[in-house]
């Protein structure tokens, strides 16, 4: 049960949130200009980082805002959260099993 820091509401149990996968994947400006490979990249290819990972969460049983979290996918340590469009916090130097 992660303790997730919503930038608007503060720390709340994971059960209040919905996961949104990898952060910072922008929808292409002009999808028609992409070939099938590039389009598949956007649709399906994901970083799946082992270690510090920028991901999206929705506080859906709360303020219903989307935001980003930096979380270590090995230790589940949460480094920080930030609003959509904000700059991510600095990552700690490699810790606990992260690559």
């Amino acid at each position: 049960m992660l303790n997730i820091d919503c930038p608007w509401c503060g720390k709340r149990h994971e059960t209040e949130f919905r996961y949104g996968g990898e952060a910072h994947i922008a929808r292409p400006e002009d999808p028609a200009a992409l070939d099938d490979t590039e389009w598949a990249e956007f649709l399906f290819m994901r970083k799946n980082t082992k270690g510090y990972f920028a991901e999206r969460w929705l506080h859906n049983n709360g303020c219903r805002r989307w935001f980003n979290v930096i979380r270590n996918t090995v230790t589940h340590e949460i480094v920080g959260s930030y609003k959509m469009g904000e700059t991510p916090p600095k990552l700690p130097k490699s810790a606990g099993g992260a690559k």
Binding site: M1, L2, N3, H13, R18, G20, A26, R27, D30, P31, A32, L34, D36, W39, F42, L43, R56, L58, N60, R64, R65, W66, T75, H76, I78, M84, G85, G96
Partner: protein
Amino acid sequence: MTQHFRTASGGRIDRKKAINFTFNGQKYIGYEGDTLASALLANGVHLLGRSFKYHRPRGIVAAGAEEPNSMVQLGEGATTEPNIRATQISLYEGLTARSVNVWPTVEFDISAINGLFAKIMTAGFYNKTFMWPRAMWMKLYEPVIRRAAGWGKAPTTGDPDIYDHMHLHVEVMVVGGGPAGLMAALAAGRARARVLLVDEQGEFGGSLLSKKRQIGAKDEMAWIADMLAELEAMPDVTLLSRSTAFGYYDHNYLCVLEQKTDHLPAAERKGKVRQRVWHVRAGQVVLATGAHERPLVFADNDRPGIMLASSVQTYVNRYGVLPGKKMVLFTNNDAAYETAIDLQAAGGDIVAIVDSRAEPSGELVEAVRALDIEILAGYAITGTRGGKRVESVQVRAIQKGAKVYTSAARRIDCDLVAMSGGWSPVVHLFSQSQGQLEYDEEKACFLPGTKRQAQQVAGALAGEFTLKECLAGGYKAGADAARATGFTPKRKPAAPEIDEPALGGIEPFWVVPGARPIGEGMAKHFVDLQNDTTAADIELAVREGFESVEHIKRYTLTGFGTDQGKTSNINALAILSGILDKPIPKVGTTTFRPPYTPVSYGALAGRNLGDWSDPVRVTSIHDWHVENGALFENVGQWKRPWYFPKTGETMQDALNRECLAVRNGVGVLDASTLGKIDIRGPDAAEFLNRIYTNAWAKLGIRRVRYGLMCHEDGMVFDDGTTARLAEDRFLMTTTTGGAAGVLDWLEEYLQTEWPELRVYCTSVTEQWAAVSITGPTAGALLKKLAPEMDLSPESFPFLSFKEGVVAGIDARIFRISFTGELTYEINVPWACGLALWEAVMAAGAEFDITPYGTESMHILRAEKGFIIVGQETDGTTTPQDLGMDWIVSKKKPDFIGKRSYNRSDTARADRKQLVGLLTEAPDEVLPEGAQLVFDANAPKPMPMMGHVTSSYYSATLGRSIALALVKGGHEKKGQKIFAPLLDRTVTAEIVDPVFYDKEGERLNG
């Protein structure tokens, strides 16, 4: 039967309160304060069960959670419970318990014959046999194995008890109410932090309940009482006894099982919550979980009467019970000597102390010497005798490093063997919290090392084995925890003078050889008593190439029992380290997995059962439906009327009647469950343009349009109509089950992709009740209800809406249609839904208005070829597949899904496409889900062309109709297709999916 093994006095039992209980059909008496185990021992009962594989007699080994053997079937009937450890059952009046997995009795157990085959039933033997002949595995071998498996039995009926969940946030949670935990709670409590202290036992005090100690001016009991009095007086301190912290999860989230009534007689449990799971989020956690004593691994170390030394001490001091009258103590450390002193003081005889150390010394050793007890230093027990109880031990002088002892054997008669192989700190929760363990050579145990969460460790867990260290360590941990959560601890109190013996060292002694090498002869050196894993099994596993500790565990099953190897894991590890000749830390430990002790499913489910397992959503008209005999269908969380049967009607009768009423007169549907989203903002139209496949910018105010939504992969995921309320405001409807998902979808795009769009979405599903009246006389009915309203097609065309008063209620009326008939969907404030419905029913009486449910709705729409998302679509269906190219804009440069349509597979001509089917026999209704083929005689696997998505008997058409997805179906109209069913093959013709009123002439009534 009287309690022959009670001490004359002492113990934390109330000798004035006798308690009657029954074990294996025999009646006994114990005292309040007893556990089932202590009461049985008081009555001289040691044989409680049989082992798993060989069915060897087994007795009580320990006094707490670490007990490997003494599982019983507790209680009877609906409240019986399997596999409860007798050491953890508080005795109550009327308790009944039985041995598990024995037949016919624990005294005479047929399966003990397995012992004869012990040489064959080695670790992993089942991997190597039972393979021939192949058919016999399922017919004979496995059924026999399965019948032999398992301990106790599940009840045969549901559980009459109730359970619940609580949630708690504290600054400091302390796990373990022994001396260290009490001090930690005190330190944090005095600092005014919110504190939770949990302990698995009925009384706080931990190890102090079993030992005699003078703490300053107080004895141990007075000290505990004073501590509790101070803690209880603190308003922000919560004390939970009979509460086991069983899981330690990420971010200092811990789960605790509180057993609230399990210690009470049946009559006192009624109406109370039986067990509660506390979910705790703590700023800091202080782990003070203590330590478990380790058994010694020697030949036939499993007979009843062979117990852990500290547990013997607990039975003597805490429960006033002599587990035996002639004890041999076998130890590799001198802490265990205290047991001998206490047992002798209580009236038992110490026959000998067998100490594996060559030169034991220290305060306790000298004290024992002073009592004239024989100490056999440099000796070990190399064998035991006894049937259902240990009768004697064989001892030999240790020959260091030898695999076989040739020294002279001596037999010592006894009825109790107390053993101590040292202490294993209870690192389970620490390990669950991802903390790293470190092996301490001097203390011969694993201790908490690097921690990963906001926590402190104290007491025996931290290797603090004396009371003095525990008190100091506990206070420091509590103070540090309080400080770390922003509180200022009070000054540390002066350390009290403590009267306790100084401890000498421990010399690890992991497995005791005998006259023959381990594994030879009949003797067994048990490591895991519950799973009958022996030292020889571990040797065998290594011999066969299993070297990882995880492999050993899995191959030999050591540590896989209900005790999770609390007494066996470290011994197994150490024996493995010896065989591999690798130091213990290099061998590593296995993972400690939650729960620390087993937790009932009922407690974990809590109240989330029945109607509370998932919220039930009903419309404001629901009660009317119930009163009028509707049967209901679950649609997502909603209850929707399925159909309204009249007395004597079959389901099909009712559907025929409902559908014909709509086609010939007027029907009424509760459409309130459809999702409704209010979409506002200057960019709302642009937003819809991007979300829906069709164009929205030019939709006029008060006009309505149908839309399809696709995911980025081009597959349809929801549909519905959206009305333009104003230039900058729309009301979107969604499917009933899809509403929440659509709102999330809209919000996701608005917040994460297009934050520049000024659009705001609000769910208004439960603000508007919707009553849909449909059929040729719907207009006349509405005229009655809203006489002022101009209903002419010119003023109120199809796909538009009006605001007005209907039956005296302010309403929005939408002209949309899911039946193909003239339809008015009247939306009123939710609270007015029933009033509107009743007004509609009253006014409609003269038109013979007929309420209908989802099933008729499905038939009516299928007659028109309208899709249902999730039925005609399955996540692999595009708008084009559905023949709905007309709704996919060719002009818009982009919308969600567009780019995916021209991927090679999505653009294929022979994709599965929506068609209608008419069976050759008009009364034959194809099963929904029937697969379709062009060649019904093709060999299997048969090339499948598609499947039936919807299929009904249509009373309107007087025949069956079906919708189907068929490969290249749009080009195959007129062709025959076959549905090979289990018992017959149905022939059908592929037709257009619109079966009724293709020209749409009925829309205007």
